[in-house]
């Protein structure tokens, strides 16, 4: 009984999440896809490190942190561009995107220095 109710709960949860998410604008969905891609790349790299060991540790760190960094920056971009966020309503999306590009540039320059 408890099991079916939690299963029903989980299903209801899943359905309402899906329907709510379907309502988000396409631009935000693209950003979400990018975040998902970056996070999965990071996980793949961690898996690879678990298999072959972490010898050039700086290379491993720079790889994982570049993925994590772009994911985080993309989430920040999503927050700033999302029209439903009242705090950012007078921030033009071009400025948000320019900041995103600038931070990514710095991130990747540092990664390239750190890669070894």
């Amino acid at each position: 009984m408890g099991k079916s109710s939690t299963a029903k709960d989980a299903q209801a949860l899943f359905h309402s999440l899906r329907s709510a998410y379907a309502a988000t604008p396409t631009t935000l969905k693209i950003i979400d896809l990018y975040v998902l891609y970056a996070v999965s790349t990071a996980l793949i790299q961690v898996g690879y490190m678990a298999i072959v060991g972490s010898f050039p540790f700086n290379s491993f760190l720079s790889g994982v942190l570049s993925c994590a960094g772009t994911a985080v920056l993309a989430v920040c971009l999503r927050i700033q561009v999302n029209k439903e966020n009242k705090e950012f309503k007078d921030l033009p999306p071009e400025r948000a995107f320019a900041d995103f590009v600038l931070c990514n540039l710095v991130l990747h320059l540092v990664i390239m220095n750190f890669l070894g």
Binding site: T6, S16, L17, L73, C76, L91, C103, F114
Partner: protein, 679 residues
């Protein structure tokens, strides 16, 4: 119109508002230039006043630190700055690549020291950049002058940052007061006097800059400001080991905001960008290396980073779902998963030793008795002792009681920025109580919070005065005005105007006493170079003892260039910088066993000591003796520390052997071992 012109500085009588300019009748205005055209609008007047005050404060901060240059000469003080000077010299002579990969075989003979990988390059690179800029502009300066004056220059820059920070916290009036207070505060002057070419000179500027940029990023929610604060953090990491304070305070601040429910999207943007970029940039410094992911001191930041991801993800899901029951279920699942994963990761990391525990230097801040029992080298440094009340009063003066007043004002108007400064103030005051040296870190917080108190109080008082000014007639009689005027009088305390004037005069008096005290303290206590001593001769004339430098130059001129000198570690940096000879141990104190060997040699009988010195290839021994002039911090005074440190590693050296009835005597009645040892 009453409140428009803000009170600009403590104690200044309220500026009267002037009407707008240049509505002069045409007949009075002869051709182009008349004085009436110079009359500025209120806003321009205010800007002029602000800029003038900032310029004056900038110059004041610089010249207040020049006492020792005027009294003695332009030279580097103390011990550590000599190492920094030597490395800066090397950098300007050989270039950055050689500097970054430098292995020094002239210190810690025979081990050598990897200097490129064990120093914080920020200070040296900054001084070298200034030097190259001046050279490019064809000013033929010597690198030593640049090194000596780097600290006052950066102190001036710190006052500017303090102004902007105060403006962000409260208003521009508070900013100006903060700049003025920090320009002469003795707690800061003590480590940034001209000649004190040490990491803190640049680090406090970097610290305040990082904090200001981060608070600005949280207030604006902009990625660009967060990137700027990441760069500020990078500068701080390159400059001083005290960056651990930043990387722990900021996550603590984020945690407090999350817990009290004041979080917002701007916080997410600011913290994440700063953490990821800051961490990556910090790992470029070889000395810091991978500590941001491996050391226990940095784990708080990472923990808060992951917590934030979970927190905001839950927030987003809650917003999507719009239904609280389902959300509760989801919340339960996610939170338990996250907590379990986090605890397991932390446990495995700490148990397997991958995450190193807190190092002794920082652990002794949390547990002050730790160093005394376990690490005598840390305990022996006089700057690491707990702080006495008199030190607080000496270094802060009136700021000490303005600090709680400022805390009160900050609590009255809680914003993201004021929460931050309150946390900074309280944590730094705790650490300042544990270790004397950390009063320096507390100084900017204390100055800012006190500035809030001063500015808010004076603003209220002058508003009272100005209300009375407008309402009162032409007479200046101060008795009850309520009978005669029907203008905007809120309350009718009879002697309110008198009280306000009295309080303003009192505030002005206090601030002037503060300025006098600071100048006196700087002149008497913090301007001695410690390498040159002055005293009064029998006839009242000033006698200068330059023994240290004379000794080092004797070494430089009269010994073969590959001679090895053994001395206690205090003098190592100076011998290598000025004497240009190889030393056995120096102030870096990275190898305790080597220092203990020297300590053992100094405290053994002469024949045993000779064996030890032969094994180390020592040619000369340098000791400092202050008996003739009454100089009290010589090697005889430090001798018991040599015994303790030597005995910590070699149990053959026992401290009671050198004491007589538990007392330390150095005359005829001293212990036999004491009389016959090498010292």
């Amino acid at each position: 119109m009453v409140g428009k012109v803000e009170a600009v500085n403590g104690g200044v009588k309220p500026t009267t508002t002037t009407p707008a300019s240049s509505e002069t009748p045409a007949d009075l205005a002869p051709p182009a230039f008349s004085f009436r055209a110079l009359k500025l609008k209120t806003k321009q007047q205010e800007l002029l006043i602000r800029v003038t005050i900032l310029c004056l404060v900038y110059v004041l901060a610089f010249i207040a630190r020049l006492f020792s240059v005027l009294r003695y000469e332009s030279m580097i003080h103390e011990f550590d700055p000599y190492f920094n000077y030597r490395t800066t010299l090397y950098l300007t002579q050989k270039g950055f690549y050689e500097f970054w990969n430098w292995f020094d075989s002239e210190s810690w003979y025979p081990l050598g020291r990897i200097i490129g990988g064990t120093l914080y390059p920020g200070l040296m690179v900054t001084a070298a950049l200034i030097y190259w800029t001046l050279r490019f502009l064809r000013f033929a300066v010597h690198i030593r002058e640049v090194c000596v004056l780097t600290a006052p220059f950066f102190a001036s820059n710190t006052t500017l940052v303090a102004y902007f920070f105060g403006k962000e916290l409260w208003d521009s009036g508070a900013g100006l007061v903060a700049a003025a207070l920090i320009a002469i505060c003795p707690g800061y002057i003590s480590r940034s006097v001209a000649g004190s070419y040490d990491n803190e000179a640049v680090a406090i500027f970097a610290l305040l800059l990082t904090f200001y940029l981060f608070v600005k990023a949280v207030n604006m929610g902009s990625l660009a400001w967060a990137l700027a604060s990441a760069f500020g953090y990078f500068y701080m990491v390159s400059a001083w080991g005290g960056y651990v304070f930043i990387i722990n305070l900021i996550p603590l601040y984020v945690l407090v905001l999350l817990i009290t429910g004041r979080y917002s999207m701007r916080l997410y943007v600011a913290y994440n960008c700063m953490y990821v970029l800051g961490m990556l940039l910090a790992m470029q410094i070889r000395f810091v290396g991978f500590q941001h992911v491996q050391s226990g001191e940095h784990m708080a930041a990472m923990g808060v980073f992951f917590l934030m991801q979970v927190f905001y993800f839950l927030d987003w899901v809650k917003y999507l779902l719009n239904d609280s029951k389902l959300f509760q279920a989801f919340l339960r699942i996610t939170v338990t998963c996250a907590v379990v994963v986090g605890a397991v990761a932390l446990g495995v990391g700490t148990a397997s030793g991958y995450i190193s525990p807190w190092t002794g230097r920082f652990y002794s801040l949390l547990d002050p008795t730790y160093a005394k029992d376990h690490i005598p080298i840390i305990a022996s440094v006089s700057e690491h002792q707990p702080t006495a009340w008199s030190s607080f009063m000496f270094d802060f003066h009136i700021l000490l009681f303005l600090f709680p007043a400022g805390l009160y004002f900050c609590f009255k108007r809680l914003t993201d920025a004021t929460i931050f400064i309150v946390m900074y103030g309280l944590t730094s005051m705790y650490f300042a109580g544990v270790m004397v040296r950390l009063i320096l870190v507390a100084t900017p917080a204390v100055c800012l919070i006190s500035a809030v108190a001063v500015s808010a109080t004076i603003k209220n008082l002058t508003q009272l005065l100005r209300a009375k000014n407008k309402a009162a007639g032409p007479g200046k009689g101060a008795t009850s005005v309520k009978a005669s005027s029907k203008a905007s009088l809120d309350q009718s305390l009879p002697f309110q105007r008198n009280g306000a004037i009295a309080l303003l005069v009192g505030a002005f008096y206090l601030l002037s006493r503060y300025a006098t005290h600071c100048t006196w303290v700087t002149s008497e206590a913090y301007s001695s170079p410690s390498i040159v001593l002055a005293a009064r001769g029998a006839y009242g004339n000033r006698v200068i003892f330059d023994d240290y430098r004379e000794a080092y130059f004797w070494l430089r001129q009269n010994t073969p260039s590959d001679a090895k000198v053994m001395s206690w570690w205090d003098y190592g940096y100076q011998i290598t910088a000025m004497g240009n000879r190889t030393v056995i141990v120096d102030n870096n104190t990275w190898n305790n066993t080597h220092i203990a060997t020297v300590g053992r040699a100094m405290s053994s009988y002469e024949d045993e000591a000779y064996e030890i010195m032969r094994s180390l290839d020592v040619d000369y021994v340098l000791v400092v003796f202050g008996g003739v002039t009454g100089y009290s911090s010589d090697d005889i005074n430090k001798f018991l520390w040599m015994v303790r440190i030597g005995g910590g590693v070699f149990p053959v050296i026992k401290e009671p052997d050198y004491l007589v009835n538990g007392e330390y005597r150095v005359d005829k009645g001293a212990a036999p071992k004491m009389l016959n040892c090498l010292m």
